[in-house]
Amino acid sequence: MVGSLLTLVLLWHLLAVILQNKYLPTPVEVVDVLAREAGNGDLVKHIVATLMRVAAAFVISMLIGTAIGLALGLYRTADKFFDAWLILFLNLPALVTITLCYIWFGLSEAAAVTAVALNKIPNVAVNMREGARALSRDLAEMAVIYKFGWWRTLRHVTLPQLAPFFAASARSGLGLVWKIVLVVEAFGRSTGVGYRLNIAFQEFDVTTILAYALAFIIIVQIIEFTILQPLQAKVTAWRR
C-alpha cells in the first residue's frame, strides 16, 4: 500500500515538473503550504471546527436514525406508513437540504449541523431497520425461557445482534458526514476546512486546496484506523 501511494506521489511530482503549470503544484509545494498553515494556526483552527461539526452531526444522526430504524423494523404499521417518507428523504439531494436549512433557520451553527444530520439520518434508519428485522426469534424465545428480563435481553441478546448494523452505519455514515460537512461549511460558515477550501477556490489557489485535502484525508484515515476499525473488530470478534 505504501509503495502504491509513493508511486502516485512520484507520478504527480513528475507531471507537475513537466507541465510547469501554476494550477498543478508539486507535492513539495503542497507540503510547504501545509507547514505554513500549521505554523500560523489556521490549519488546526479549521480542522477542529470541522471535527466538532462532524462529531455533532454524527452523534445526532446515529441516535435519531437508530431510533427511527428500530421503530420501523419492529412495528409493521409504522413501517408501512413511513416507508414512503424514508424513500423521499433518502433521495433528497444534499444540496437541497442544506440550502433549505440555511434559508429556514438562518446561517447558524444549528442549521449547519441539522442539515448534515438530515442527510445522514435516512441511511442510518434504513440500515438499523434491516438490523431490527433480522433479530432472531429463536434467541428471543430462549431469553424468555431462561428468564433474562428486559435488561439482560437488551444487553446480551438484542444489542449484540444490532452491533454489526450499527458499526456498518457508523463507518459508512462517517464517510458521508465528512463530505457533507465540507459543503455546509463552504456555503454558510466562516470556519472549517470547507470554508477554507471555498476561499482557496475563489483565489484559484490549488496548492492550498491540495494542502487542506491532504490534511483532511490523513485525519480521516487516523480516525478510521485508530477508532472505527478496532471497534468493528471488537464487535465481531466472536465470528468464526
Binding site: M142, P160, R240
Partner: protein, 252 residues
Amino acid sequence: MASVVDIAKGTAHAGRPIKVEVKRKVFPPVGDREAQLVLRDVAFEVAPRSFLVVTGPSGCGKSTLLNIIAGLDDDFEGQLDLGPAGDRLTYIFQSPRLLPWRTVEENIALALPEGDPRLARIPEMLARVGLAQAANAYPERLSLGMQRRAALARGFIVEPEILLMDEPFVSLDDPTAQSLRELLLELWHSQPTTVIFITHDRAEAIQLGTRILRLSPGQASVAQDAEVALSDAERRDRSAVLREQNRIFAAA
C-alpha cells in the same frame, strides 16, 4: 450442591403431575396458505420425575405442542396445568440457541440470575458434559455436538422441575448422538426432573423414555400411550432396545 431449600422444594413439586390438554391448535392463514388445524384433543398427564417421550412423524405438531407447554405459544384452545413446577421450566431446543457472541461459560451463567449460588456449579457442570476445555470458547468455534453439550449444561444448571427437549440430538452422527443420550440419562439420574422429550427417532424414544406417547400424523391426537419396560442396564443394550421398540410400535 443444591441447597437444602431447593431439595425440599423439589420434593414438594415431585408429588404433582403435569396436566396438558390441547383441544385445538390452529395456525391462522398466512399469505396464500390456509388456516391449519395442527393439534386436536391431545390430552395427557405426566407423572413427576418421569421421562415422557413424544414421537410422531415429521410435521405432525410435536414442536407446536412443546411450545404450548413451554408457554411460548398461548394461542390455543385447552388448558395447561404445570403446577408450581412451572416456575422452574427449561427448554432445550432443536438447535442449541446459544448466544454466538458469548462464551460457553457466559452462556450457561446467563441462564441463572446474578449472584445465584448455582453459578458456583458451572465448572463442575462443564466438566460433566466434557466441556471443561471449551469454557472460554465462542459457540460457533465448536462442533455441533459440543454446542449441544453446552445447551444440555445450560438446561441442567438451573436444576429444572420440568425439562422440555425438542429433538436435541438430530443432525449428529450416530456415535455422537449416542454419547449425548448417555450423558442425558446420566444427568437425569443425578438430577431427577420431569422430562418431556420429543423425537421422531423410535430407537431413541425407547432408549430414553419411561413412557412413550405417539401422535398420529395430520391433525395430531394421541395415537398410543405405552410404558417402556426396560431396566437402566438394558437401555444400553441395542438388542434389548430393538426388542422393546418392536413390541411397542407393533401397533403403529
